[in-house]
Symmetry: C2
Subunit: 160 residues, 2 copies
């Protein structure tokens, strides 16, 4: 069982600009490091399936609720509509998703998963899931629950 006091070679230390022990900043820097480590590993896994992380996110988002518009997708993913347009272009070319014009509002497209997209998600999801389970195993369930609540509260504070 690893101690959390250990330091390995590549670890960053606090900037010289910080004289005092700045808990907020230290926590943010640790959040970045931890996130990046996990992200890189998950990206590697997805890459084997020919998926980028944003593409996986789009597939997963559509699996949660098909029929959203590109604008809605852009807002959920915190990117611009022009960005989403290009990403959907690529994913539609691959046959993973489909644009269907909205009958009521003819400006809008509704987005749907195609069989190939479902298949991609179904194939890559178990890997992602297993990797996440493994990476999270350093924390006990009650600790995970606490971590989740802390992160949730942080996010709420930001979006307001």
């Amino acid at each position: 069982m690893p101690s959390h006091k250990g330091r390995s070679a590549g670890r960053q230390r606090l900037p010289v600009l910080l004289e005092r022990d700045e808990l907020e900043l230290r926590t943010w820097l640790q959040l970045v490091r931890t996130y990046l480590r996990m992200e890189r590993r998950l990206e590697r896994l997805l890459e084997e399936r020919g998926l980028s992380l944003p593409q996986f996110d789009i597939l997963a988002t559509l699996a949660m609720g098909e029929g959203i518009t590109q604008q809605e997708l852009a807002q959920r993913m915190l990117v611009t509509k022009g960005n989403i347009c290009g990403m959907i272009d690529r994913m539609e070319t691959n046959g993973w998703v489909e644009r269907r014009p909205d009958k009521q509002d003819r400006r809008a497209n509704r987005l749907f998963l195609m069989p190939a997209g479902r298949k991609q998600l179904a194939r890559s999801f178990p890997d992602q899931h297993a990797a996440v389970q493994e990476m999270m195993s350093a924390l006990r369930p009650e600790e995970l629950q606490t971590l989740y609540e802390f992160l949730d509260r942080l996010e709420e504070d930001i979006e307001n």
Copy 2:
């Protein structure tokens, strides 16, 4: 004081692939959302100063310890050496950093901050710091400490 139970419009929900309450995955998804929100906000701030987040990271890393090699920088930032080479090119063009050949090992470059780089860091750091402080204010000090420890343990588990 915001409750952590609230749900706003753009929040994602769990994929349909998940029947049970998967704490690990739910926590990871929340980590992603929280990280992205904070990252976007900090990127906006840096953008006003003409800095990208990776560039800021490099400046901050060098401020922590000048004279590291490109290879060492690549390892700390979890990217390839070719990547670092291009980034240092851009930053050297801007006069922010400098390559100095290592006398002992003539294959290697040692990286140093230039006055303009120090100035960039000194100008952007207070903004970043204040934003981090504000975003982290949803948690009390003892909660921040706990969050830090959890993240640290997670990272250790991954890098081993």
